[in-house]
């Protein structure tokens, strides 16, 4: 007896069903956003989701940890800020140039440190993130140091998108997120993605099977860094002002937490993880001083009862209820 293909199930078929569903959610969501504040939360969630979808390729699929991705996010943000603000470059060109610089940097840094595994890789990427943070904080003349710097409005093909134009920003971020998810899904279901998942499952078997493990780890490290950089550039333009907080260690941890919370090796899970972790603190403000405590408690409970992450656990629940 042939077992039914999982692709008969729209939830499990990422391209046919999942992407359409995500688009639908993004189109319908504004109906439930009563004011500018909620738009702002949604835009921040979308921007975070772009970075997290990329980071999930590295952590969830290839099984390589990075505790320094805020460094790449920050380089994208400051790259765009400096090139557009100080040097007057067109924002789109600045975004692409920053992404290119980040790709080259990730390539150069990734080569030596991706030989490391587990905790050692975590330490090395942590060090990389801190290094980027220190440089950005100390180069006051370029970056404004700890005080941060202003970023001009995003200007695409003659349209100026100020951060105050929430609807337009929402539409832009939604489109970018869909593109980010589409590319990630394509990659996962390709020879490259299979090689990444294989080296996560068994590095020895992948190598013997013909996968150049070092090369593939490097490829995905660079791609995830570019995702973070683009998200950083967009965030800088949207916020109109950036500080080194965006580059800091806590932000790196936040990105990793979003990957784990949403569900490792689940692209839509990454979106859910980002959305929940951005939105949750807004709903917890009622708890005032205990907001962080509540957030921590929710994360602990999620990890104990929904270890695979929010989305994969939810899909399991739905499947289990079907006859």
């Amino acid at each position: 007896m042939r077992v039914p293909l999982p692709s008969d199930d729209w939830i499990a078929d990422p391209r046919r069903g999942g992407l359409a569903l995500l688009a639908l959610v993004l189109v319908v969501l504004p109906i439930f956003l009563p004011n500018r504040f909620y738009y702002d939360v949604a835009i921040h969630a979308g921007l975070a989701a772009i970075a997290v979808v990329g980071l999930n390729l590295l952590i969830g699929y290839a099984g390589q940890i990075s505790l320094g991705h805020a460094g790449f996010f920050g380089l994208g943000a400051y790259g765009s800020a400096v090139l557009t603000g100080t040097h007057g470059w067109p924002p789109l060109l600045a975004l692409l140039a920053s992404a290119l610089v980040v790709a080259v940097l990730a390539f150069l840094v990734g080569r030596p440190i991706l030989r490391l595994r587990g905790h050692y890789l975590a330490m090395a990427t942590l060090g990389m993130g801190l290094l980027i943070f220190m440089v950005i904080t100390n180069e006051r003349t370029v970056t404004g140091g700890p005080d941060g710097m202003a970023v001009p409005a995003l200007d695409i093909f003659g349209f100026s998108l100020s951060g105050r134009n929430k609807q337009a920003w929402y539409a832009l971020v939604a489109l970018c997120l869909l593109l980010a998810v589409w590319l990630a899904l394509n990659l996962i279901d390709s020879p490259v993605g299979r090689a990444l998942r294989a080296l996560h499952g068994s590095e020895v078997a992948a190598r013997v099977g013909g996968v150049d493990v070092a090369e593939y780890k490097l490829i995905i490290f660079v791609i995830s860094a570019v995702y973070a950089s683009v998200a950083g550039s967009l965030s800088a333009h949207y916020g109109g002002f950036i500080t080194p907080d965006a580059v800091g260690f806590l932000h790196s941890i936040e990105l990793v937490t979003m990957v784990v919370l949403g569900g490792m090796a689940s692209t839509y899970g990454a979106v859910v993880g980002a959305a929940v972790l951005v939105a949750l603190p807004q709903f917890l403000t009622a708890f005032h001083d205990y907001e962080q405590v509540m957030l921590g408690a929710i994360l602990i409970v999620c990890m104990i009862f929904l270890r695979r992450g929010l989305l994969p656990s939810a899909i399991d629940l739905i499947r289990a209820r079907r006859p």
Partner: protein, 264 residues
């Protein structure tokens, strides 16, 4: 024609010499077995030949080319594949995807075409999937194609590894205890499978403790003991070799040898 030639190979771990001064050569187009007691260095030898370990000394030639020190993926490109004694499965991937990884070197795998899912990648992946499904049918796992490998039974995973290795179209296939933990019926299936693989022109090297399987399928046997060659030769010769009986087979096996081994 010699497919694998090993000269004066040595490998130690700390104070233990796992392989020492080992030389042998294997003829293409035959089924070879490597036997010996636990700790004789059989798996270490596989790890050396497939490039997972670098030898302390010695030289390995595959298809007439010196390959000592080459990484596993380069050896794979030359036509060397293996399976693992302790299973090395991509558990989160489906059975058919596991086998598709074996096709890695034979399919289009460009980064940009993959990211944008260009028609060339779609076509090449569809072919890879078809070939992988056929290989799953070949090893008798067709029904598992879309099941995550982590959910498959142990005996099936042994054959999944063989299918994955075959997907790479190897010239030399090393099987590390393919029948370990299998019952009599499953061992018989592995026996048949090995003979069909060999009949397709693949040179097979088998490490196995199941002596009836070894004696039944092998053309040539290499006996290791303490990392050294104890004996080598055709099955009948090895069976009768007093040193081999002493070190490994034991008298009971020698008596069992008088009864014809089950033919595959």
């Amino acid at each position: 024609m010699t497919i694998l030639d090993v000269k004066d190979l040595a490998k130690g771990f700390g104070g233990i010499r796992a392989i020492q001064g080992l030389s042998f050569s294997l003829r293409a187009g035959a089924i070879h077995s490597i036997i010996g007691p636990n700790g004789a260095g059989k798996t270490t030898l596989f790890n050396l030949v497939t490039g997972l370990y670098a030898p302390d000394q010695g030289r390995i030639a595959f298809l007439g080319e010196t390959v000592t020190g080459l990484p596993p993926h380069r050896l794979a490109a030359m036509g060397l594949q293996r399976t693992f004694q302790n299973l090395q499965i991509f558990e989160t991937m489906t059975a058919v995807e596991n086998v598709m990884v074996g096709r890695h070197l034979h399919i289009l795998r460009g980064l940009l075409p993959s990211l944008f899912r260009l028609p060339s990648i779609v076509r090449s992946d569809r072919d890879a999937r078809e070939r992988a499904s056929r290989l799953l049918d070949f090893v008798g796992l067709g029904t598992y194609a879309e099941i995550p490998a982590g959910a498959m039974p142990y005996g099936a995973l042994k054959r999944l590894e063989i299918a994955r290795a075959l997907a790479a179209e190897p010239k030399l296939l090393l099987l590390d205890e393919p029948a370990a933990g299998c019952n009599a019926a499953e061992t018989q299936e592995i026996d048949t499978l090995i003979q069909r693989v060999a009949a397709a022109g693949v040179t097979v090297v088998l490490v196995e403790h199941d002596m009836s399987l070894v004696m039944g399928v092998s053309d040539h046997i290499l006996v290791l003991d303490h990392g050294q060659k104890l004996a080598e030769g055709p099955v009948a010769e090895i069976r009768a070799n007093p040193a081999v009986i002493e070190a490994y087979l034991g008298t009971r096996a020698a008596e069992a040898g008088a009864v014809p081994a089950p033919a595959g």
